[in-house]
Protein backbone atom coordinates (compact mmCIF):
# COMPACT_ATOMS: atom_id res chain seq x y z
CA UNK A 1 0.00 0.00 0.00
CA UNK A 2 1.71 3.13 -0.93
CA UNK A 3 0.96 6.54 0.42
CA UNK A 4 -1.73 8.32 -1.61
CA UNK A 5 -3.51 11.58 -1.51
CA UNK A 6 -6.65 9.91 -0.10
CA UNK A 7 -4.83 9.18 3.14
CA UNK A 8 -4.05 12.80 3.67
CA UNK A 9 -7.57 13.83 2.73
CA UNK A 10 -9.10 11.40 5.21
CA UNK A 11 -6.68 12.55 7.89
CA UNK A 12 -7.53 16.21 7.16
CA UNK A 13 -11.24 15.37 7.24
CA UNK A 14 -10.86 13.66 10.59
CA UNK A 15 -8.90 16.55 12.00
CA UNK A 16 -11.46 19.02 10.61
CA UNK A 17 -14.40 17.14 12.14
CA UNK A 18 -12.67 16.91 15.49
CA UNK A 19 -12.15 20.67 15.32
CA UNK A 20 -15.80 21.15 14.37
CA UNK A 21 -16.90 19.03 17.32
CA UNK A 22 -14.67 21.07 19.56
CA UNK A 23 -16.18 24.33 18.29
CA UNK A 24 -19.73 23.13 18.66
CA UNK A 25 -19.42 21.31 21.96
CA UNK A 26 -16.88 23.06 24.15
CA UNK A 27 -18.16 25.48 26.77
CA UNK A 28 -15.12 27.64 27.18
CA UNK A 29 -14.56 30.26 24.53
CA UNK A 30 -10.81 29.70 24.62
CA UNK A 31 -11.31 26.01 23.96
CA UNK A 32 -13.48 26.92 20.99
CA UNK A 33 -10.63 28.98 19.65
CA UNK A 34 -8.25 26.12 19.94
CA UNK A 35 -10.69 23.91 18.05
CA UNK A 36 -10.76 26.54 15.33
CA UNK A 37 -7.00 26.30 15.13
CA UNK A 38 -7.34 22.57 14.59
CA UNK A 39 -9.74 23.12 11.72
CA UNK A 40 -7.38 25.58 10.10
CA UNK A 41 -4.56 23.11 10.31
CA UNK A 42 -6.71 20.47 8.71
CA UNK A 43 -7.19 22.81 5.79
CA UNK A 44 -3.47 23.36 5.59
CA UNK A 45 -2.83 19.66 5.41
CA UNK A 46 -5.18 19.34 2.53
CA UNK A 47 -3.61 22.28 0.75
CA UNK A 48 -0.11 20.98 1.05
CA UNK A 49 -1.15 17.43 0.22
CA UNK A 50 -2.80 18.55 -2.98
CA UNK A 51 0.26 20.57 -4.00
CA UNK A 52 2.43 17.61 -3.19
CA UNK A 53 0.43 15.06 -5.14
CA UNK A 54 -0.17 17.32 -8.07
CA UNK A 55 2.60 19.10 -9.80
CA UNK A 56 4.94 20.11 -6.97
CA UNK A 57 6.49 22.87 -9.03
CA UNK A 58 3.35 24.92 -8.62
CA UNK A 59 3.74 26.54 -5.25
CA UNK A 60 0.21 27.72 -4.91
CA UNK A 61 -0.76 25.19 -2.31
CA UNK A 62 2.09 26.05 0.01
CA UNK A 63 1.75 29.80 -0.49
CA UNK A 64 -1.88 29.70 0.46
CA UNK A 65 -1.03 27.57 3.45
CA UNK A 66 1.31 30.30 4.55
CA UNK A 67 -1.40 32.85 4.15
CA UNK A 68 -3.79 30.64 6.13
CA UNK A 69 -1.28 30.51 8.93
CA UNK A 70 -0.82 34.28 8.97
CA UNK A 71 -4.55 34.88 9.06
CA UNK A 72 -4.92 32.26 11.80
CA UNK A 73 -2.35 34.10 13.86
CA UNK A 74 -4.07 37.46 13.38
CA UNK A 75 -7.40 35.89 14.15
CA UNK A 76 -6.30 34.22 17.37
CA UNK A 77 -4.78 37.48 18.59
CA UNK A 78 -7.94 39.44 18.06
CA UNK A 79 -10.20 36.68 19.37
CA UNK A 80 -8.30 36.47 22.61
CA UNK A 81 -8.50 40.25 23.06
CA UNK A 82 -12.26 40.04 22.63
CA UNK A 83 -12.43 37.20 25.07
CA UNK A 84 -10.47 39.25 27.59
CA UNK A 85 -13.04 42.10 27.33
CA UNK A 86 -15.85 39.54 27.51
CA UNK A 87 -14.41 38.04 30.64
CA UNK A 88 -13.95 41.46 32.25
CA UNK A 89 -17.54 42.38 31.40
CA UNK A 90 -19.43 39.20 32.17
CA UNK A 91 -16.98 37.53 34.53
CA UNK A 92 -17.13 34.32 32.57
CA UNK A 93 -16.09 32.98 29.22
CA UNK A 94 -18.61 30.25 29.32
CA UNK A 95 -20.30 30.22 25.95
CA UNK A 96 -23.71 29.24 27.34
CA UNK A 97 -24.12 32.36 29.44
CA UNK A 98 -23.24 34.95 26.83
CA UNK A 99 -26.48 35.73 25.04
CA UNK A 100 -26.42 39.47 24.50
CA UNK A 101 -27.50 38.82 20.94
CA UNK A 102 -30.80 37.35 22.17
CA UNK A 103 -33.65 38.43 19.94
Amino acid sequence: MILELAHFQILAAALFCLGLYGVLARRSAVMVLMAVELMLNAVNINLVAFSAFRDISIVTGQVIAIFVITVAAAEIGLALAVIMRLYRRRGTVNVDEIDWMKG
Binding site: Y21, V63, V71, L78
Partner: protein, 170 residues
Amino acid sequence: MGLILFYILGGLTLVAALGVVTTRNIVYGALFLLVAMSGVAGLFVLLFAEFLALVQLLIYGGAIIIVILFALMLTRTTDFSVATEHRRWPMAAVISLALFGLLAGAAIGDSGDYNTYQRSGISIEELGKGLFENWAVPFEIASIVLLVALIGAIVIGRSGEEEGGEGDQG
Protein backbone atom coordinates in the same frame (compact mmCIF):
# COMPACT_ATOMS: atom_id res chain seq x y z
CA MET B 1 8.51 3.68 4.45
CA GLY B 2 6.57 6.91 3.97
CA LEU B 3 3.41 5.06 4.93
CA ILE B 4 4.64 4.07 8.33
CA LEU B 5 5.84 7.61 9.03
CA PHE B 6 2.44 8.90 7.88
CA TYR B 7 0.59 6.57 10.24
CA ILE B 8 2.80 7.50 13.16
CA LEU B 9 2.54 11.23 12.64
CA GLY B 10 -1.18 11.12 11.63
CA GLY B 11 -2.07 9.02 14.64
CA LEU B 12 -0.11 11.34 16.90
CA THR B 13 -1.93 14.41 15.55
CA LEU B 14 -5.38 12.80 15.76
CA VAL B 15 -4.85 11.60 19.32
CA ALA B 16 -3.62 15.07 20.33
CA ALA B 17 -6.60 16.68 18.60
CA LEU B 18 -8.93 14.31 20.43
CA GLY B 19 -7.21 15.33 23.62
CA VAL B 20 -7.71 19.03 22.90
CA VAL B 21 -11.35 18.47 22.31
CA THR B 22 -12.15 16.21 25.23
CA THR B 23 -9.78 17.12 28.07
CA ARG B 24 -11.38 18.40 31.26
CA ASN B 25 -8.52 20.72 32.09
CA ILE B 26 -8.02 23.55 29.66
CA VAL B 27 -4.27 23.80 30.17
CA TYR B 28 -3.89 20.17 29.17
CA GLY B 29 -5.95 21.14 26.14
CA ALA B 30 -3.39 23.81 25.24
CA LEU B 31 -0.57 21.34 25.61
CA PHE B 32 -2.38 18.78 23.49
CA LEU B 33 -2.78 21.49 20.87
CA LEU B 34 1.00 22.00 20.88
CA VAL B 35 1.51 18.29 20.27
CA ALA B 36 -1.03 18.31 17.45
CA MET B 37 0.69 21.29 15.82
CA SER B 38 4.04 19.51 15.89
CA GLY B 39 2.39 16.43 14.40
CA VAL B 40 1.12 18.54 11.57
CA ALA B 41 4.58 20.03 11.08
CA GLY B 42 5.89 16.53 10.76
CA LEU B 43 3.35 15.77 8.08
CA PHE B 44 4.45 18.85 6.19
CA VAL B 45 7.97 17.49 6.23
CA LEU B 46 6.59 14.20 4.91
CA LEU B 47 5.09 16.21 2.07
CA PHE B 48 8.38 17.87 1.22
CA ALA B 49 7.19 21.25 2.55
CA GLU B 50 10.07 21.78 4.93
CA PHE B 51 9.76 25.57 5.05
CA LEU B 52 6.12 25.24 5.90
CA ALA B 53 6.87 22.77 8.67
CA LEU B 54 9.36 25.25 10.06
CA VAL B 55 6.89 28.11 9.85
CA GLN B 56 4.19 25.90 11.42
CA LEU B 57 6.34 24.99 14.36
CA LEU B 58 7.57 28.52 14.81
CA ILE B 59 4.23 30.31 14.71
CA TYR B 60 1.83 27.79 16.13
CA GLY B 61 4.17 26.15 18.56
CA GLY B 62 5.92 29.30 19.57
CA ALA B 63 3.48 32.18 19.37
CA ILE B 64 -0.13 31.00 19.33
CA ILE B 65 0.05 28.44 22.10
CA ILE B 66 1.86 30.90 24.33
CA VAL B 67 -0.76 33.56 23.72
CA ILE B 68 -3.50 31.06 24.50
CA LEU B 69 -1.76 30.15 27.74
CA PHE B 70 -1.52 33.83 28.60
CA ALA B 71 -5.25 34.21 27.95
CA LEU B 72 -6.01 31.20 30.09
CA MET B 73 -3.92 32.60 32.91
CA LEU B 74 -5.49 36.07 32.69
CA THR B 75 -9.08 34.84 32.61
CA ARG B 76 -8.40 32.56 35.59
CA THR B 77 -10.48 29.82 33.97
CA THR B 78 -7.89 27.39 35.21
CA ASP B 79 -8.72 27.46 38.90
CA PHE B 80 -12.06 25.75 38.46
CA SER B 81 -12.43 22.93 36.04
CA VAL B 82 -15.46 23.87 34.10
CA ALA B 83 -17.71 21.13 32.79
CA THR B 84 -16.44 20.60 29.31
CA GLU B 85 -19.44 20.31 27.06
CA HIS B 86 -22.79 22.02 27.27
CA ARG B 87 -25.91 19.96 27.21
CA ARG B 88 -26.34 19.79 23.44
CA TRP B 89 -22.94 18.11 22.77
CA PRO B 90 -24.33 14.80 21.38
CA MET B 91 -25.93 16.76 18.59
CA ALA B 92 -22.53 18.31 17.76
CA ALA B 93 -20.92 14.88 17.78
CA VAL B 94 -23.49 13.50 15.37
CA ILE B 95 -23.02 16.41 12.99
CA SER B 96 -19.22 16.09 13.08
CA LEU B 97 -19.32 12.38 12.43
CA ALA B 98 -21.80 12.85 9.58
CA LEU B 99 -19.54 15.48 8.03
CA PHE B 100 -16.54 13.21 8.44
CA GLY B 101 -18.37 10.37 6.74
CA LEU B 102 -19.27 12.62 3.83
CA LEU B 103 -15.81 14.10 3.44
CA ALA B 104 -14.12 10.72 3.71
CA GLY B 105 -16.56 9.29 1.18
CA ALA B 106 -15.79 12.14 -1.20
CA ALA B 107 -12.08 11.63 -0.70
CA ILE B 108 -12.23 7.92 -1.41
CA GLY B 109 -14.48 8.32 -4.36
CA ASP B 110 -12.31 11.03 -5.82
CA SER B 111 -10.57 9.52 -8.81
CA GLY B 112 -8.49 12.49 -9.74
CA ASP B 113 -5.40 11.91 -11.87
CA TYR B 114 -2.86 12.42 -9.15
CA ASN B 115 0.66 11.21 -9.78
CA THR B 116 2.17 8.99 -7.15
CA TYR B 117 4.10 10.01 -4.06
CA GLN B 118 7.63 10.75 -5.19
CA ARG B 119 10.51 12.53 -3.64
CA SER B 120 10.64 15.94 -5.28
CA GLY B 121 10.48 18.84 -2.88
CA ILE B 122 10.86 22.39 -3.97
CA SER B 123 13.68 24.60 -2.88
CA ILE B 124 12.99 27.56 -0.67
CA GLU B 125 14.02 30.11 -3.27
CA GLU B 126 11.40 28.70 -5.68
CA LEU B 127 8.86 29.15 -2.92
CA GLY B 128 10.20 32.64 -2.22
CA LYS B 129 10.13 33.58 -5.92
CA GLY B 130 6.55 32.33 -6.22
CA LEU B 131 5.59 34.20 -3.08
CA PHE B 132 7.04 37.50 -4.16
CA GLU B 133 6.23 37.38 -7.84
CA ASN B 134 2.75 36.22 -8.64
CA TRP B 135 1.53 36.32 -5.04
CA ALA B 136 2.95 39.74 -4.18
CA VAL B 137 -0.37 41.56 -3.78
CA PRO B 138 -1.91 39.00 -1.43
CA PHE B 139 1.32 39.08 0.48
CA GLU B 140 1.01 42.83 1.06
CA ILE B 141 -2.62 42.42 2.01
CA ALA B 142 -1.66 39.74 4.50
CA SER B 143 0.74 42.14 6.11
CA ILE B 144 -1.97 44.77 6.40
CA VAL B 145 -4.29 42.15 7.94
CA LEU B 146 -1.69 41.45 10.54
CA LEU B 147 -1.18 45.14 11.23
CA VAL B 148 -4.95 45.72 11.66
CA ALA B 149 -5.27 42.69 13.88
CA LEU B 150 -2.41 43.99 15.96
CA ILE B 151 -3.92 47.43 16.47
CA GLY B 152 -7.40 45.98 17.04
CA ALA B 153 -6.16 43.64 19.70
CA ILE B 154 -4.37 46.46 21.49
CA VAL B 155 -7.39 48.81 21.34
CA ILE B 156 -9.81 46.17 22.55
CA GLY B 157 -7.48 44.88 25.16
CA ARG B 158 -6.42 48.27 26.55
CA SER B 159 -9.74 50.12 26.71
CA GLY B 160 -11.14 47.44 28.89
CA GLU B 161 -9.56 48.80 32.19
CA GLU B 162 -11.08 52.24 32.66
CA GLU B 163 -14.66 51.14 31.89
CA GLY B 164 -14.68 48.71 34.75
CA GLY B 165 -17.58 46.31 34.93
CA GLU B 166 -20.48 48.66 34.17
CA GLY B 167 -23.94 47.35 33.46
CA ASP B 168 -24.48 44.53 31.20
CA GLN B 169 -25.87 45.59 27.85
CA GLY B 170 -28.73 43.15 27.67
